[in-house]
């Protein structure tokens, strides 16, 4: 048995029990004896370390992504992936960049600001009304009560035309952001998810109301503010997701 055979045996079978041939080689080779002695002391020290804590799932996901990105590993071949998955990954990669995510949020806020300016111009030209038409009357029957409010995320298709681009961008960004903290059980992430749901519900309610009352300027103001809040919230989630992962 040669020195390189000893390395192979140790890697495949561990330190003990060594085969007879290996023990015979060790008896004659001081270099290999030292090598085995080093390994033995390493194992002894390692055994004294505190018990490992199982890392969270996100660590494995992050590790896998990094190793794949560097070409060190490949994932086992699977059945053909539907196109939505590749789109998802490209979106995730795109928004995973903090600079781009921040820029997207900036664009959304700017779009909301432009809308506000345009809206004010439209209002200035409307004919003045001297009295509130509804006074303190109760809310119209067409407006659903809070128990009837939507719980699903708003869809760009329900957004008013001038908000469609903003709504679409936010809708695209939302699964990317929530995916980044999906596995987290942190109370902060739970709070962020809960608040995202609340702002989504509010946006859906405002959008539905504007569909019925397109000229309601106050609701537009609230909707515009809610889009901005959602953009900021998604940005915060992405930033947190990146720090976690």
């Amino acid at each position: 048995m040669q020195c390189k055979d000893i390395e192979l045996v140790l890697e495949q079978e561990g330190l003990e029990p060594l085969p007879v041939e290996a023990r015979e080689h060790l008896a004659e080779c001081p270099e290999c004896r030292n090598y085995v002695a080093d390994l033995t002391s390493l194992v002894d020290v390692a055994n004294k370390l505190p018990a490992e804590i199982a890392p969270p799932e996100r660590v494995w996901i992050s590790l896998r992504a990094q190793l794949e990105a560097e070409g060190i590993i490949r994932t086992p071949a699977e059945s053909p992936v539907v196109r939505a998955d590749s789109w998802w990954e490209s979106m995730r990669a795109f928004f995973g960049n903090r600079v781009i995510a921040t820029a997207m949020v900036g664009i959304l806020i700017a779009a909301a600001a432009v809308f506000e300016i345009r809206k004010d111009g439209i209002h200035d030209s409307s004919p003045p009304l001297q009295q509130s038409a509804r006074g303190n009357s109760p809310a119209p029957a067409a407006v659903p009560s809070s128990s009837q409010q939507l719980t699903a995320a708003p869809s760009a298709s329900t957004a008013p035309a001038e908000f469609a681009g903003t709504a679409q961008a936010l809708d695209d960004q939302e699964p990317v952001a929530t995916g980044m903290i999906l596995s987290s059980r942190s109370p902060v992430d739970a709070s962020l998810r809960e608040n995202l749901k609340k702002v989504d519900e509010f946006i859906a309610e405002c959008e539905r109301h504007l569909k019925e009352q397109p000229q309601d300027g106050l609701t537009r103001e609230y909707l515009s503010a809610a889009y901005q809040q959602k953009a900021e919230l998604l940005s915060a989630i992405i930033e947190r997701g990146r720090s976690i992962n």
């Binding site: 590993i73 009304l129 809310a139 407006v143 309610e205 300027g217 919230l233 720090s243």
Partner: protein, 306 residues
């Protein structure tokens, strides 16, 4: 072996274990045994004191869970006390001129939430600027004068006897501001805002689903805007106040319990009403301050407290 355990196949055969790496590995394992992060530690306390010349700026970023408490004293010093429940959180505290930076970092990403508690207690000169950012846990500031920006995801913010330009931004945390003065901006998604006995001359409160309570005097020439999407907006004013009031809601209701004290606008302005919202304009006293209340679907309540 680890890679195979998680279902990953190495792209190339694993390189042979080289003898030249042995000393390095041994050293790494030895060092890891000596690292403080490995030590099992109970609660720890860090205290640092910094002398400052003028009005200091204190910047705190707490990514752990915990409370930030800031009080003032007459000394030209900033005293920082940090306490932590485990050594999985680390404090970085440094001074650059009159700026004091305090950061609480998570050292072990796998730590449990209970192990990530880091509380900070600061004592600062009365005139100090603050920039605080935390994820959860209470922010408490008392008797500090200076501009301050306070941000939190889930933690509440309590302010007592503070003054300056105060910006509070939360996701779900609530604000209680007692005897505050100056200018206040608050924005939140689900947080509430309670403004008690203020001397604020400029107020902007905005919450999507939270409630707003303003209980106190309106400073003459002050500007006040309070908006809640779904929550309650309640204002309690005194008979000595002087302000113009505009209240409007899209689908909510206006509960005006002070109609007897509100006169039509005395400034001769013809207000534009929308037929798609409901609300009213009114004046108390000479109408020196301007108060705007609005909601999307929540209730607006106006009442006199005396």
């Amino acid at each position: 072996m680890c890679l195979q355990m998680i279902g990953i196949i190495p792209a190339e055969p694993r390189p042979q274990f080289k003898r030249s790496l042995m000393p390095l590995l041994a050293a790494a394992i030895f060092m890891s045994c000596l690292m403080p992060g490995r030590a099992e530690a109970a609660g720890q306390r860090v205290e640092k004191k910094f002398s400052v010349a003028g009005r200091p700026v204190v910047v705190i970023h707490n990514v752990a869970n915990g409370r930030i408490e800031i009080k003032s004293w007459k000394n030209a010093e900033v005293d920082v006390v940090g306490t932590q429940t485990s050594n999985k959180v680390g404090f970085e505290i440094e001074q650059a001129g009159d700026r004091i930076d305090v950061t609480a970092n998570i050292l072990d990403a796998a730590a449990q939430p209970l192990e990530l508690e880091a509380n900070l207690q600061l004592t600062v000169p009365e005139e100090t600027e603050l920039q605080l950012k935390t994820e959860t846990g209470l922010i408490y500031v008392e008797q500090v004068t200076g501009d301050m920006k306070l941000e939190s995801y889930a933690g509440d913010v309590h302010l007592k006897e503070v003054s300056g330009y105060i910006i509070v931004k939360t996701t779900g945390g609530s604000l209680v501001c007692a005897q505050c003065a100056g200018k206040l901006d608050f924005s939140s998604i689900s947080g509430n805002a309670q403004i008690l006995q203020p001397q604020l001359n400029n107020v902007n409160l905005m919450t999507t689903t939270g409630n707003i309570l303003f209980d106190g005097d309106f400073v003459r020439t002050g500007l006040y805007s309070m908006k809640s999407g779904r929550g309650l907006v309640e204002v309690r004013f005194s008979s000595n106040d002087s302000f113009d009031l505009k209240a409007q809601t899209s689908t909510g209701t206006v509960d005006n319990q002070a109609a007897a004290f509100l006169k039509p606008d005395t400034h001769g302005v013809k207000h534009i009403y929308s037929n798609l919202t409901h609300g009213f304009f009114g004046t108390v006293g000479k109408g020196l301050a301007k108060v705007e209340l609005s909601s999307y679907s929540g209730t607006i309540r106006i009442l006199r407290r005396d």
